[in-house]
Structures are given as structure tokens and as C-alpha cells.
């Protein structure tokens, strides 16, 4: 008898990503579908808008990572209006952006992803949330987390006016210079940041790496996918969030492509399925072979682990050290272990903090010369940044007045859409046998899902990470015969 299992992040009606698992007659997993039931059409209604407003329009795609869209859009405008930002403007943007990356990665580790490890995958679900983390690491540290987040968000607010949907980006620069005393404040924050990132890595060591079960879990096959990886690197092939070339490596870790943002269309294509509002990007030169991994499938992965996989290291000393240690532990590059995204995320957080400190300590950064006024006629512009959740691409075309005539957006999480489906299906296969659906499935699948820190506000509409789940086991007619439900 065929069964259908519906895993619905909070029931279908709330539509923030839905997983359908079909079992074959033996009760083994035949197929799993991740559905995205939402779309807003930013690409379409951007048409007709003045290009310079795009940095204020596109952040509304996502209230969790608005800074990413804002900066990416601003970079697309630099290209569109063919204007080079002043040196200090570039620094200020990257400074603001680093503060954001640090804050966002920390948020994920402690509030969203962390509970799986800090509290432990086998702990009762009721404890596997931020309160559980607090209980485990203590209120004082929880306070630190909240404070770190606030400090970073204050920096973004200083430049952007508002941390949710900042507004400061302009082609050729930024709307507001940095004052000396704010610079000094930022130096302090960055120092906390570095300490705090190191401290967080220690927690990861203590509670995760020192625990054999966890390490096995990370290295285990259930969470492995040999895919291509994509991420942005600087001229020395070091990880860079703000600027550089996009690099792609094969499942064996060989460089497959290294391209400039403007050439993205030669490398990335998107596949459409009738059962989901999201699209499934893949490597154009490999081609779409369905939801499968391996060297012949165009499916690739982005975000922290991917970025570390495509790079030759980190541009700051402490982060470089952690980078090496990680790959050592994981048995070399590229690492295919989905759960290692959490670790990579912490390495990146340390890099973000160190980079922030470098920039803030540069006294030239208070130079008031923050704008170059565009002079040439706009036509087409492409901007790429590395979002917490992966490579983000904004591509605009305009008429001569700078009115958008076409916009194409490939949003971080979407790059991972296919891989997420696969990870879920694989986790399910590993855990559903002969129609028996174990309680553990819930957590395990959820962990697979959350490792990517999927921001479906970007692709769909859910917030990243911790999605309360329920599993409905249905018979062929779709009647629910079993409900697994965490409360």
C-alpha cells in the first residue's frame, strides 16, 4: 500500500515551504518533494522603477537579510551607471556588510541552528530552542549573544538609517560618511566580535567536536552530498563576501569555473517545476539531470561550507587557522558534509569580525569623499555578493533614463533549493524503512533542512532555520493514519 507523508512546516495553510514524501509499495521512500508555495514577482514589478530606487525596493525581498540585497543592488547600480565608488565608499560598504555577516551568522548559530548541537539532537524537542541553549550555556552568555547582535545592528543602523531595510546605498558611493568617534566605537565592537567568534568556536569544540556521536553524525553518510560548490573569492582565491570573482569547484574540488559577475548567465541556469513556485538553479555547462548529486549533475551548493570549499583559505589570520583545522578534521577539501555548514559558518563569523576590525582601524575610512556622481548613460548592470546563505545575484537592464526595463534576481537560498530537496530525501531514505516512520525522522530531516539556514523569505516567505515540523502519514487516499508531531 502506498503511503504519502506530508511534512509541513506548520501545516500547509501557512505555506512557508512544504515537504511531500511518497513511499513505494514496500513502504520505502520513493520520492520527496520540497514545495515553495509563495512568489512575489520583484523581478517583474521592478520594471518601470527608477534604477536608483532598487536598493530601497529589493531589500523588501527579505527582512532578515535586507543588508545583503541592499549592498548587492547598490553594486549592480555601480555597474549599471558605470561609476566606480570612491575608495572610502567601498570600505564603508564592506564594513557595514561585515557587521551584518557577523550578526547574521551568530543569530543562526545560537538562536536557530545551534540548538541541534548545543542542546543536542537527541534532546527532547521542547528544549531544542534558544531557551535550551541559554539553559546549557548560561544566561550570561545568552546576554552576550543578544548584546553582540545589538552592537552590530547599531552599526548597520548608523549607515543605513534602519537595520531592517537600510537605505544608504547609491551608485558610486554611499549617502553618509563615518565620523571619528563612531569609528572608534566600531573598533571596540569589532574587538568584541573577534573575541566572541573565538569564544563561539570554543563552545563548538567543547560541545560538538569533543562528542563522538556528533562528529559521527557530521561525517555520516546520511548528511553527505557530493555536489559542485560555488562562492566568491578575491584575487588570491580567499573567501570574500563583498567583491571578487565567482569560483566553482567540482565534487573533487577541482576548479570548474572562475567568472566575473557579468558572465553569470554563461554558468548558471534555472530549472522550473510545475509543483513549486521556486526555481532550481544548476550549472549550465553540466546541465540539469534532476535532483541528484555527482559530477554529472549540474546541482551545486552555496553558503558557508561551499564558500570554504571553493576558496584556498581565509584572508585574515585567525580565520585561516580555523579554516585549516576544519578541513583537517573533515578529511580534506571539498567537504561534502551538510552538517559542516554550521562549522564553516563560525569560521566565516570570525573572518567577518577580523575584517571589520581591519577596516575600522584604517583611519582613512573617515574620509568625507563618499560619492562619485555617475556621468555615463546607464544600460545594464550586474551585482554579486555573498549572502550569509550563499551567492546573491542582481541583474538590471534600463533605458537611457535609467528606468528598469528588465530585472533578474537569483537569490542565495534558491541556489540550494535542489540540494535541500536532495538532503531531505536522503535523510528520509536513511530513516524510513518499510513504512515505519520513526520519531527521529522529524529531528533528522529538520537538521538536514536547517543546516542550509534556508532563508525562504528570500525564495519564498519563511524565516530561516528552526521550523516547527509535523509529519502526517497518509494512506493512498490521503487520509491521515499517523501523526508525528512535536510540541
Amino acid at each position: 500500500m502506498t503511503k504519502r507523508i506530508t511534512i509541513d512546516p506548520i501545516t500547509r495553510l501557512e505555506g512557508h515551504g512544504k515537504i511531500e514524501i511518497f513511499l513505494d509499495d514496500h513502504g520505502d521512500v520513493e520520492k520527496a518533494y520540497l514545495q515553495v508555495p509563495e512568489l512575489r514577482g520583484f523581478e517583474v514589478f521592478s520594471v518601470g522603477r527608477p534604477a536608483e530606487e532598487m536598493p530601497r525596493i529589493t531589500p523588501k525581498i527579505c527582512g532578515v537579510c535586507p543588508t545583503t540585497h541592499h549592498i548587492c543592488s547598490t553594486k549592480a547600480l555601480d555597474d549599471l551607471f558605470n561609476v566606480e565608488p570612491t575608495p572610502v565608499a567601498k570600505k564603508l560598504r564592506e564594513l557595514m556588510y561585515s557587521a551584518f555577516m557577523l550578526e547574521d551568522h551568530m543569530l543562526h548559530f545560537f538562536f536557530l541552528g545551534g540548538p541541534d548541537f548545543v542542546v543536542g539532537p537527541s534532546a527532547p524537542p521542547a528544549e531544542r530552542n534558544i531557551l535550551g541553549v541559554i539553559a546549557k550555556v548560561g544566561l550570561e552568555i545568552a546576554g552576550k549573544v543578544i548584546n553582540m547582535r545589538k552592537e552590530c545592528r547599531d552599526i548597520i543602523t548608523y549607515f543605513g538609517g534602519r537595520v531592517i531595510h537600510p537605505v544608504c546605498g547609491l551608485p558610486g558611493g554611499i549617502s553618509k560618511p563615518l565620523t571619528e568617534d563612531m569609528r572608534q566605537k566600531i573598533v571596540e565592537v569589532a574587538k568584541h566580535g573577534v573575541e566572541f567568534a573565538k569564544f563561539t568556536l570554543n563552545i563548538f569544540d567543547d560541545v560538538v567536536l569533543k562528542n563522538k556521536d556528533y562528529v559521527d553524525l557530521i561525517l555520516g553518510d546520511v548528511y553527505k552530498h557530493a555536489t559542485y560548490y560555488m562562492g566568491m573569492v578575491d584575487k588570491n582565491n580567499k573567501v570574500n563576501f563583498y567583491d571578487g570573482d565567482v569560483r566553482v569547484v567540482t565534487p573533487e574540488g577541482k576548479e570548474f569555473a572562475r567568472f566575473k559577475p557579468k558572465d553569470y548567465l554563461d554558468h548558471i541556469a534555472e530549472h522550473v517545476e510545475p509543483w513549486s513556485y521556486t526555481k532550481y538553479p544548476y550549472l549550465k555547462k553540466v546541465g540539469w539531470k534532476g535532483f541528484v548529486d555527482g559530477i554529472d549533475s549540474g546541482v551545486y551548493r552555496v553558503a558557508p561550507l561551499a564558500r570554504l570549499n571553493v576558496s584556498d583559505g581565509m584572508a585574515t589570520p585567525l580565520a585561516q587557522g580555523e579554516y585549516e583545522r576544519m578541513f583537517e578534521t573533515l578529511g580534506g577539501k571539498p567537504a561534502h558534509n551538510t552538517l559542516a555548514f554550521h562549522w564553516a559558518r563560525l569560521v566565516e563569523a570570525l573572518y567577518a569580525a577580523e575584517r571589520m576590525l581591519e577596516l575600522a582601524q584604517d583611519r582613512d575610512i573617515i574620509d568625507p569623499n563618499i560619492r562619485n556622481i555617475p556621468t555615463s548613460i546607464p544600460d545594464e548592470g550586474i551585482g554579486i555578493v555573498e549572502a550569509p546563505r550563499g551567492t546573491l545575484i542582481h541583474h538590471y537592464k534600463t533605458d537611457q533614463k535609467g528606468i528598469i526595463t528588465e530585472a533578474n534576481l537569483i537569490v542565495a537560498t534558491v541556489n540550494n533549493a535542489a540540494a535541500i530537496c536532495m538532503s531531505i530525501e536522503k535523510a528520509a531514505r536513511g530513516l524510513i524503512k518499510r513504512g515505519k516512520v520513526s520519531e527521529g525522522l522529524l529531528n533528522m530531516v529538520e537538521m538536514a533542512f536547517r543546516a542550509y539556514d534556508p532563508c525562504f523569505a528570500c525564495a519564498t516567505h519563511t524565516l530561516p532555520g528552526k521550523l516547527p515540523l509535523s509529519i502526517n502519514v497518509r494512506d493512498k487516499e490521503g487520509n491521515i493514519i499517523q501523526v508525528l508531531h512535536r510540541s
Binding site: 502506498t2 504519502r4 512546516p9 506548520i10 495553510l13 505555506g15 512557508h16 511518497f22 514545495q35 508555495p37 509563495e38 512568489l39 512575489r40 514577482g41 520583484f42 517583474v44 514589478f45 518601470g48 522603477r49 527608477p50 536608483e52 530606487e53 530601497r56 523588501k60 525581498i61 527579505c62 527582512g63 532578515v64 535586507p66 543578544i146 545592528r153 538609517g161 534602519r162 531592517i164 537600510p166 537605505v167 558610486g172 549617502s175 553618509k176 553569470y264 548567465l265 541556469a269 534555472e270 530549472h271 522550473v272 510545475p274 509543483w275 513556485y277 526555481k279 540539469w288 556622481i373 535609467g402 528606468i403 533578474n408 516567505h461 524565516l463 516547527p468 490521503g478 508531531h485 512535536r486
Partner: protein, 324 residues
């Protein structure tokens, strides 16, 4: 005595409003302590069916953010209305439709056609388009219906109060929550923010000449922006005069002009039309050619004046024979 039941829900929103709640930081704990949360998809694990199980009106207040774009958002909004004593439209999208409401210049077909067929990165030779129901070999997969139009919450259900802003600032959220808990509430339909326009508290007002005239209009990227001078006086479109006060001039503090996320004052029905009227009135031109030259220098009037409020405007959307 039992704590009041509270629900938070998001419709066609970006999650920024949820972040705004999280940004209440320690205050959030106060709130959580004072109420019993029965639905908060982001943070807590409750099911719609739990809500369905409640008595009508059992929820003291539901905070709903985001506009209404799909059948299921509509369904949940209506369910929460039924179960709630009070419904608060939370944030610009629920209040006005918000930036995603600019989609009302287009319709479902136009959006689908571009996103799934025309977009330069899409490879889709069979012209596949997502459908509400798809038969895969294993069975049926369904998706909610995607409407032609984005609606502000009050075009779908009866709304008691509005918390404006993209996203609402923490102080307004706290004042509102405290007012609701204390039960000292203004008249139904009130927008929980000051009822004057932004100029009232704008620091740049002192620089504004009594004889404000627009001789020429500039776009933000075309000129260096004077950090002290009134934007309109610089010839930069700033919706401040037609926008409700209470945001703390967040954008203006970043030296960028207002785009109107707080919506109009209570007396105004159509924010865009009112701003248009004010702007046109102070244009320094009387002969037709000069007037047209000035008005043509505003490249996207509807998009600019309805940046956040197209779905809540009088026409609500582009009039389009192809829509339902």
C-alpha cells in the same frame, strides 16, 4: 486570571516585521510574560488546527503582517479574524500593501511569464508553469492560488488597529502592546502613530524657506545630497509632507529622502494623490510647456508616490482588462 491569548502571523511579508519584534530585545520577554502566545510561526510550534479549535473571539489580539496575495493567506487571515477580539495590521504591507504591492502594476500572468519563461537564466523549453494542482507519478501536489492583486489586510478582513512602518519601530510596538494590554485603546480604525506629517519632527524643517518652490527636480543619484537641507528644497522627491510622523526620520538620518512607509495622515484617503497635489502645486511654472518639462522630469510618478501604498490607494492597482 488567565493571560490574554495573542497570535502573531505573517502573510505576504519579508520577515522584517518579525525581526522588529525580536528587536524589542529584553522588552519581548516582558510581553511574552504577560500574554499567552497561541500562534507565532517563526518562533513557536503551534498549528493552525490549534487555532481552529479555539472559540470565536478567544484570541485577545492577532498581529498580522504582510499583504494578502494567495488564497491561503486569505484563509488564515479570515480564520484569525473569526477567532480574535482585536486584529492589528502590523507593518506597512498589512497596512498599505507595502513595496510588494508595486506588483499591482502587473498581474499573475505577466509575473509568471517573466519569472518562469522569459527570465534570462531560465531554461524552460516546455514552458512549464507552476500550477495549483500537479499530478506527479506518485500522486497530486498542490499549491495555493496566486492572485492577480496584492491586498492590504483591511481589504480582506475587518481591521481594528494599524501599526505603521516598514518595519514598525520598537517604541511604537511597545506603546501599542502596552495600550492593548492595559485596555486603554483609541477609536477603532486608528493608526497607532502621531497624526501629523513627518515634517513636524524633521530636523531639516528649519532650513526650509517659507516660499518653497520647485524649479527643477533631481534624482538621488544625480547630485550630492546636502545632509542638512530640506530634500524638497534640494529638488529631491521626499514624501515626508504626505507621510505620517513617528518613524524618527530613520531614512532622513541616513541622508536619504522619505518614501512614505508610514502611510498618510488619518484625514487623507490617497497618499500618492495628495503628495502629487502638493508637489505639482509648488512647481515654479505656469506655461504649459514649462509645466510638462517639470512633470516629465519625474520619471515614475506612480511608483514614487505609491512606493508603499499602491494597494491601499483609491484605485488599488493598474486598471487592467486581463485581471479577474
Amino acid at each position: 486570571m488567565a493571560k490574554p491569548k495573542v497570535a502573531f502571523y505573517w502573510c505576504a511579508s519579508c520577515g522584517g516585521c518579525e525581526e522588529a519584534v525580536v528587536d524589542l530585545a529584553e522588552n519581548i520577554l516582558k510581553v511574552v510574560a504577560a500574554v499567552e502566545i497561541v500562534l507565532w510561526p517563526v518562533a513557536m510550534d503551534f498549528k493552525i488546527k490549534d487555532v481552529e479549535a479555539l472559540q470565536d473571539g478567544e484570541i485577545a489580539v492577532s498581529f498580522i503582517n504582510g499583504g494578502i496575495r494567495t488564497s491561503e493567506q486569505e484563509h488564515v487571515a479570515k480564520l484569525l479574524r473569526k477567532k480574535s477580539g482585536l486584529v492589528v495590521a502590523f507593518g506597512a504591507c498589512a497596512h498599505l500593501g507595502g513595496v510588494p504591492g508595486l506588483a499591482n502594476f502587473y498581474n499573475r500572468d505577466k509575473i509568471f511569464e517573466y519569472v518562469y519563461h522569459k527570465s534570462p537564466s531560465v531554461v524552460n523549453p516546455e514552458k512549464i508553469t507552476p500550477k495549483e494542482s500537479t499530478m506527479v507519478e506518485q500522486g497530486e501536489l498542490t499549491l495555493p492560488k496566486f492572485y492577480d492583486t496584492v491586498y492590504p489586510l483591511d481589504k480582506v478582513i475587518d481591521v481594528d488597529y494599524y501599526l505603521p512602518g516598514c518595519a514598525p519601530p520598537p517604541d511604537l510596538i511597545m506603546t501599542a502592546v502596552e495600550a492593548i494590554l492595559a485596555g486603554n485603546l483609541p477609536a477603532k480604525g486608528t493608526v497607532l502613530a502621531p497624526d501629523k506629517s513627518l515634517c513636524d519632527t524633521c530636523q531639516r524643517k528649519i532650513t526650509k524657506p517659507e516660499k518653497s518652490v520647485i524649479k527643477e527636480l533631481k534624482r538621488v543619484h544625480e547630485v550630492l545630497l546636502d545632509p542638512e537641507r530640506c530634500f524638497l528644497d534640494q529638488g529631491i522627491i521626499c514624501l515626508g509632507p504626505a507621510t505620517r510622523d513617528g518613524c524618527g526620520e530613520r531614512c532622513i538620518n541616513a541622508n536619504m529622502p522619505c518614501r512614505g512607509c508610514f502611510g498618510p495622515t488619518s484625514r487623507v484617503e490617497d497618499q500618492g494623490a495628495k503628495f502629487l497635489s502638493a508637489l505639482a502645486s509648488i512647481m515654479d511654472a505656469n506655461d504649459e510647456a514649462a509645466i510638462i518639462k517639470l512633470t516629465d522630469s519625474i520619471v515614475d510618478p506612480a511608483g514614487m508616490f505609491y512606493f508603499y501604498s499602491l494597494p491601499a490607494s483609491m484605485l488599488g492597482r493598474r486598471i487592467d482588462p486581463d485581471i479577474e
